[in-house]
């Protein structure tokens, strides 16, 4: 009985690999992508951990494409004052001794141990099973404790009424919000808006993917290129890492 099962399994594997070889254009290149949207009705899985690898050597200091793409995708207006909403911002760094300049996008680092979640008194701030840190605005009372707790200053408070909503990203006055890793797009099997915009602008500075998937590009890159998490000393284990800092 067990022999028969094994034989069937072997036959199946043989046929499956032949099928995969058939749709491959060249070694390593397939006709379609294997990363698909999660089926309807299925919850986010803790087997996945979404993250980003940002290559600061590819990030252009004059370029603001990721920021404007995020604003357009998620419906937040361009920040004009320090208290305005900013889900992502461009940061310019300069090393004083050498004058070396670095440009990078800063946003929620999607920590594995998020301090914003620890301090939230209403459980509005939470980490989804797949590592995306979010604010449940149905529960947020706008106390802004999470904004104080975040070492990356990644969160913003909505001070003004929101008049023009995007259907995929509800936003409202009196709640705290931050980068969602474009959770609505990720659930559809797409890349976050900033990643797409960066690639479109020809920089390809942001690589997005599943940090737990040994076949994903980000998994391989993080293991072959020197990268660093911001303030790794805090032990928060952010999902976002940087190259060239």
């Amino acid at each position: 009985m067990s022999d028969k099962v094994n034989l069937n399994r072997r036959q199946f594997l043989g046929k499956a690999s032949a099928a995969i070889a058939g749709i491959a254009i060249a070694p390593g290149m397939l006709l379609f992508d294997f990363a698909h949207a999660r089926p309807a009705g299925e919850a986010a899985s803790s087997a996945v951990r979404w993250g980003m690898l940002i290559d600061t050597t590819q990030c252009d200091s004059g370029c603001n494409e990721c920021v404007s793409a995020c604003g357009k995708e998620n419906g937040w207006p361009e920040a004009k004052s320090p208290t305005d909403v900013q889900w992502i911002r461009k940061v310019e760094l300069k090393q004083v001794s050498t004058g070396r300049q670095t440009s990078l996008p800063m946003m929620c680092q999607h920590c594995a141990e998020p301090p914003c979640v620890d301090v939230c008194p209403t459980n509005a701030s939470f980490k989804r099973a797949d590592g995306i840190v979010l604010v449940d605005k149905h529960r947020c009372i706008g106390c802004r404790y999470c904004m104080m707790a975040c070492p990356y200053k990644a969160r913003s408070f909505v001070h003004e009424p929101v008049l023009d909503h995007n259907s995929d990203m509800p936003r409202g006055k009196g709640t705290v919000e931050s980068c969602t890793l474009c959770v609505h797009r990720v659930d559809r099997g797409e890349q976050p808006a900033c990643v797409e915009a960066c690639a479109k602008a020809g920089h390809r500075a942001i690589l997005f993917g599943d940090l737990n998937d040994p076949h994903s590009e980000i998994y391989l890159r993080i293991r072959s290129v020197a990268s660093a998490q911001l303030r790794a000393d805090l032990g928060l284990n952010p999902g976002i890492s940087f190259v060239g800092l």
Partner: protein, 122 residues
């Protein structure tokens, strides 16, 4: 004396009843309409309960594509004229909520416009 009081009270109650009956039922622009996810009678009473449960599953667990969704309510019921469920006393959500004197909180944060159009106009 008590009898008189009772009579006055009864008369007042009748007047109240009459005024209630005189308020016309809402005339709704039902948008696309058609087959709803549940029976309309059930929906009138329970629509808020269906999406309260769904919103937590979608938000916190990432379960999408379920039977009930606020975005789908808006997609079907927004006015064919301006693609919105709010705006005047004929718009689907607004009119019924005005009739029942219940404040809608959904659209403080959620879009009240049909999805495709909302994105195309940007």
């Amino acid at each position: 004396m008590n009898l008189l009081r009772a009579a006055v009270l009864l008369a007042l109650l009748c007047m109240v009843n009459l005024t209630v009956a005189a308020v016309p039922m809402p005339k709704l622009d039902i948008g696309k309409g058609g087959q709803c996810v549940e029976d309309p009678k059930f929906m009138r009473k329970n629509h808020m309960k269906l999406i309260v449960h769904q919103r937590d599953e979608t938000m916190r667990q990432g379960i999408r594509g379920g039977k009930y969704s606020l975005a789908e309510c808006v997609n079907c019921h927004s006015s064919k004229v301006d693609n919105s469920v709010l705006g005047s006393s004929e718009h689907f959500c607004q009119e019924c909520h005005e009739y029942a004197a219940v404040k809608i909180d959904c659209f403080e944060c959620h879009s009240s416009k049909r999805k495709v159009i909302a994105e195309a106009s940007k």
